[in-house]
Symmetry: C2
Subunit: 147 residues, 2 copies
């Protein structure tokens, strides 16, 4: 099974891990979070990330990070080798949950799953109340037009 290492600006990595533990309480093993502190030197951050990756001990690991170009992603880019460890950025909850669900697939497939999960999860959500009823107070029945 592939490991998942989340590297993000503090406290975003551990917050994402909390969500995984909430949604899949029995499936959060081998998912590790690393909160990168704003004042931590990059070389120290990289050294710590290497220790975490080694401790994870999985043959292959998907590294997920929050945003391209920032320190957590730059560090993660130096961490991965492109074969046994691969890096995906722009992490959202749909990406992370998809990745956790498909951890038994190959690392290449897992990357595709993560990218698809993230993109498919981004959308505008329509309102549930009829849009011509917005002047009705929220605590009134929107189907009762006489009120």
């Amino acid at each position: 099974m592939n490991g998942i290492l989340i590297i993000a600006h503090a406290p975003l990595a551990s917050a994402f891990l909390c969500c995984v533990q909430h949604v899949f309480p029995d499936n959060a093993l081998s998912v590790v979070a690393f909160d990168v502190q704003p004042d931590q030197p990059p070389e120290e951050t990289l050294a710590e990330a290497r220790v975490l990756l080694k401790q994870l001990g999985t043959p292959c690991t998907l590294v997920l990070t929050d945003i391209f170009g920032a320190t957590p992603c730059n560090v993660a880019q130096k961490l991965v080798d492109g074969t046994t460890t691969k890096l995906v950025t722009g992490m959202n909850l749909p990406m992370l949950l998809r990745a956790v669900c498909y951890r038994n697939e190959t690392l290449d497939t897992l990357v595709v799953r993560a990218l698809a999960g993230a993109s498919q999860g981004v959308m505008q959500v329509a309102v549930t109340a009829p849009q011509n009823q917005t002047s009705i107070k929220n605590d009134q029945d929107p189907n009762d037009h006489q009120q």
Copy 2:
């Protein structure tokens, strides 16, 4: 200026807000986070979200949430009216930072910006080290093939 209300599983909403405050320390006003607790009844969550939206006091507000179909998104869907408040889900850091940067545009444009920011931020990141050097230990010079 449009407000931004982040509604997500605890502690993800406040973690995202922390990141905004770190990246744009002078531009995080009118960005509010609401961590939805796992044991909180949806109707209570909705009532609390309405209070936050009212306190925000902006004429228009973009509501961002973590994942479609879960309680935070379901509550947010009941909160928005589709005209002065609109909902986007699948939030990632690129989406949020893009939304914060373009808060002065119309709410409709802001929705488009948020969706584009999120999608464009999702990508696999290539490794910086040569991929045929993965057998070399990380602390050795990858250019010295004799070691």
